[in-house]
């Protein structure tokens, strides 16, 4: 039973697709082996959201996460930044349709995107699509900065893990 379940997870793994739809739009998609209501729950409950939004492997820490998931409601994510600083991401929800659609703003900078999450359930699986729309081409491209830093810490952590694993042997 467990083996089969693991097989299911493996079959949807590594299927994340990222597409530049236009100068200022980025579309990310992936299929999950679960009904939409479960994916929606994992996205909208802070205690669950906290567990995956900042991948462990990226070496960043989410200090707090508040989500008031209703139209006009606010969210606020605070990350540890550097030695003692912190960095906050915040915005508000523009649309909330359970369990299939969530639209929110990213207001930490004037260049933030409006992000739309759609969940489309089919035969027990859910196609998840994240659509980021930026105010300009430049804003869209500048956003790579964040991903940049993250993949850097990704590499650093990989190195650290290799050292730790070989030290333990």
């Amino acid at each position: 039973m467990d083996a089969r379940r693991e097989g299911d997870v493996a079959s949807t793994k590594g299927r994340t697709q990222v597409e530049r739809k236009s100068d200022r739009e980025l579309v990310i998609s992936r299929t999950f082996d679960a009904p939409a209501r479960i994916v929606f729950e994992a996205w909208t409950k802070p205690e669950l959201f906290k567990r995956w939004w900042v991948p462990k492997s990226f070496g960043m820490e989410l200090l707090s996460c508040e989500q008031d998931v209703r139209v006009g409601g606010a969210y606020r994510l605070v990350f540890r930044h550097g030695e003692s600083g912190s960095m906050a991401f915040h915005g508000k929800y523009l649309e909330v349709v359970l369990p299939s659609r969530l639209v929110w703003t990213n207001e930490e900078s004037a260049d933030g995107s409006v992000t739309t999450l759609t969940l489309e359930e089919k035969g027990g699986k859910t196609l998840l699509v994240v659509h980021e729309r930026y105010p300009s081409k430049e804003a869209c491209e500048a956003n790579a900065g964040a991903a940049d830093g993250m993949s850097e810490s990704f590499d650093q952590l990989d190195e650290l893990l290799v050292t730790l694993v070989s030290a333990r042997r």
């Binding site: 793994k13 990222v18 479960i38």
Partner: protein, 121 residues
């Protein structure tokens, strides 16, 4: 794939190891130019410049197109490669995120199944 990339890197580095070729890239970064124009700018023979452009072309740094008797050179796939790298960075972030989300989702599914069994009892 790895071997192909390695070959591409080797070709790129070899192409960039020459001052004239770096100059040509810099120039093409500002505007497209014909081989004749490039030869004049670098005070070279047409044959000499053709050789340099050939090396750059092999490395994928420059593409050329012949219209009539004029061969025009422009910067190659580099911009496309930058774009691909940019997309790949986003993909890595979201892929890592979604691997973690998969775990949360699986746990919720298990819980739901267990709760369902309890209710039926």
């Amino acid at each position: 794939m790895v071997q192909y990339q390695q070959a591409r890197f080797d070709a790129s580095f070899a192409a960039l190891a020459d001052a004239t070729r770096r100059g040509v890239l810099e120039l093409l970064g500002r505007a497209d130019a014909s081989i004749t124009e490039l030869a004049e700018k670098f005070h070279m023979t047409l044959t000499g410049m053709k050789k340099h452009v050939g090396v750059l072309e092999q490395a994928g740094l420059v593409v050329t197109r012949k219209v009539g008797r004029v061969r025009t050179c422009k910067l190659g796939l580099r911009r496309l490669e930058e774009e691909a790298a940019w997309i790949e960075k986003h993909r890595q972030l979201w892929d890592a995120r979604f691997d973690e989300l998969d775990k949360v989702v699986e746990e919720l599914k298990r819980k739901e199944r267990a709760d369902g069994r309890k209710k039926r009892r």
